[in-house]
């Protein structure tokens, strides 16, 4: 049997990848549709309990409720305590604190 041409192997590779991408985009569409119930449940809980933040960073008091923080909380643990929690590398201070002329 004649060996398969290299270009055919390459096109098969591309086709498989594109098919996978297509399947993943279908997965994304279906998953977003399916997630409506879960998102509603979370939104309902947020409304009922009057929550303000995602429970992503529980390492420090001021990283747990990012939207409620102020200028002093990051520095209150120790006199030399500059921002040193890893989550400080992922999020910025709330826009409210970064606005000029609206300091506290």
């Amino acid at each position: 049997m004649e060996p398969m041409r290299k270009s055919s192997i390459y096109f098969i590779y591309l086709a498989v990848n594109l098919a996978l991408l297509f399947l993943l985009s279908i997965h994304a569409l279906v998953a977003v549709k399916d997630a409506v119930y879960g998102l509603d449940l979370k939104a309902e809980m947020v409304k009922k309990l009057e929550l303000t933040d995602l429970c992503l960073f529980t390492e420090a008091r001021y990283t747990r409720h990012l939207s409620q923080t102020d200028f002093n909380t990051p520095f209150q643990d120790h006199p030399m305590s500059f921002e040193h929690f890893p989550s400080g590398s992922i999020v910025e201070p709330p826009a409210r604190l970064r606005m000029k002329g609206d300091r506290l």
Partner: protein, 375 residues
């Protein structure tokens, strides 16, 4: 048909040429795929969490009023609630009771909260993260040390749903009496005040009126809360800047390596091709397919792997970064909200520069006399 066959022949030749430098090109593809994988993972994660936050936090209180004393948040007196109620446009006002409790056994911070509809004294509902970190289950007893040093014994009557872990993992819902007993907060105070307004367009005006009425307060409107999560995984954040800089430098090295010229072997190859009758346009076409073969294959593999990483394995590789020093970390699976424009941007930023950087030096080599190139 003839055109197609010509392209296939050129691709056959290009792939054979790439396979002659197998080790170098496979290493290149692995690095390329990894760069796309990291960038796409960050992109997918950031987009999904931002979108999810914007949907679920839409139910947050419209305005939260904090009281500040000497720049720090203090408890808000009950009297403020009455005062705020009188402001025109305010529909309802209530005091919120919540605070942090550090549990030394687990080494974790918990959020204690009093739900508005109340909770039975001596009983609590807890988030799944608390059950995991305390190795407890429903019906168990959880004792909290009060401000006097006495233990407040609470029975876990139920757990909050797993689906809601992203907002409830560290929550302890307790009764007002138990909350006040643990923290020693008298009935005249609340942690902060929340309010709902009749017309959401008046939020800014009402926030200003509250500030005028009680100058020691800081009103936080809902938009501020929603905007907070817009900056999560923003490229300007420290860690992201490092990742982006690393990926950017890797691309500059790729492009530099390609654009700074071809190896003697590659030049010789182009010379021979020209000598046996290939046109300059054929050589450029061959190099175009070479650039495309490497960059497109790596891009597709990187994007697919990133999708699996973020939405099927719950971003396992990011977990240590997100977890930081926290003991309690929620288990959650993100909804795949994909921004197609971002994927296209990543495509244009990765595939195009590499392909162009492959073509340009070959065009220069292909336009000189084959005899001088081969020598």
């Amino acid at each position: 048909m003839q055109w197609l066959e010509k392209q296939r022949n050129i691709i056959d030749f290009t792939l054979s040429s790439l396979l002659r430098r197998k080790t170098k090109n496979i290493a290149l593809m692995i690095v390329y795929t990894l760069v796309v994988f990291v960038l796409a993972s960050v992109m997918f994660f950031a987009e999904a969490i931002k979108k999810e936050a914007s949907i679920i936090l839409r139910g947050s209180p419209e305005i939260i009023v904090q009281r500040l004393v000497a720049g720090r948040q203090e408890l808000a007196p009950v009297g403020y609630i009455e005062g705020i109620k009188k402001i025109r446009g305010v529909q309802s006002v209530s005091g919120r009771l919540w605070g942090y409790y550090f549990e030394p056994v687990a080494g974790a911070n918990f959020t204690l909260m009093v739900p508005e509809d109340g909770s039975e004294k001596g009983q609590i509902e807890v988030g799944k993260g608390i059950l995991r970190s305390m190795r407890a289950s429903e019906g168990d007893i959880l004792s909290l040390k009060s401000y006097t040093g006495d233990w407040v014994v609470l029975k876990i009557k139920g757990a909050l749903s797993s689906e809601s872990e992203l907002v409830s993992s560290d929550l302890i819902l307790t009764s007002e009496e138990d909350f006040r007993n643990v923290f020693g907060i008298s009935k005249e105070y609340f942690t902060d005040i929340t309010l709902h307004v009749r017309n959401s367009r008046e939020l800014a005006t009402i926030a200003q009126k509250i500030k005028d009425l009680y100058p020691d307060t800081r009103p936080i409107v809902r938009d501020d809360i929603l905007r907070t999560y817009d900056s999560i995984f923003n490229w300007r954040s420290g860690l992201l800047l490092v990742i982006m800089a690393g990926a950017g430098l890797a691309f500059i090295i790729f492009a530099w390596d390609k654009a700074s010229g071809l190896s003697a072997e590659e030049k010789k190859e182009i010379g021979i091709l020209k000598a046996i009758g290939w046109e300059t346009s054929d050589v450029i076409l061959m190099k175009f397919w070479e650039g495309t073969a490497i960059s497109l294959s790596s891009f597709l593999a990187g994007i697919i792997l990133a999708y699996f990483h973020v939405f099927f394995t719950s971003s396992t590789l990011f977990e240590p970064v997100l977890k930081g020093w926290s003991v309690l970390y929620p288990k959650f699976r993100l909804t795949p909200f994909i921004d197609e424009a971002q994927v296209m941007t990543l495509f244009f930023l990765t595939v195009l520069p590499y392909t162009v950087a492959t073509i340009v030096p070959s065009w220069r080599a292909a336009s000189v006399d084959p005899d001088s190139v081969m020598r």
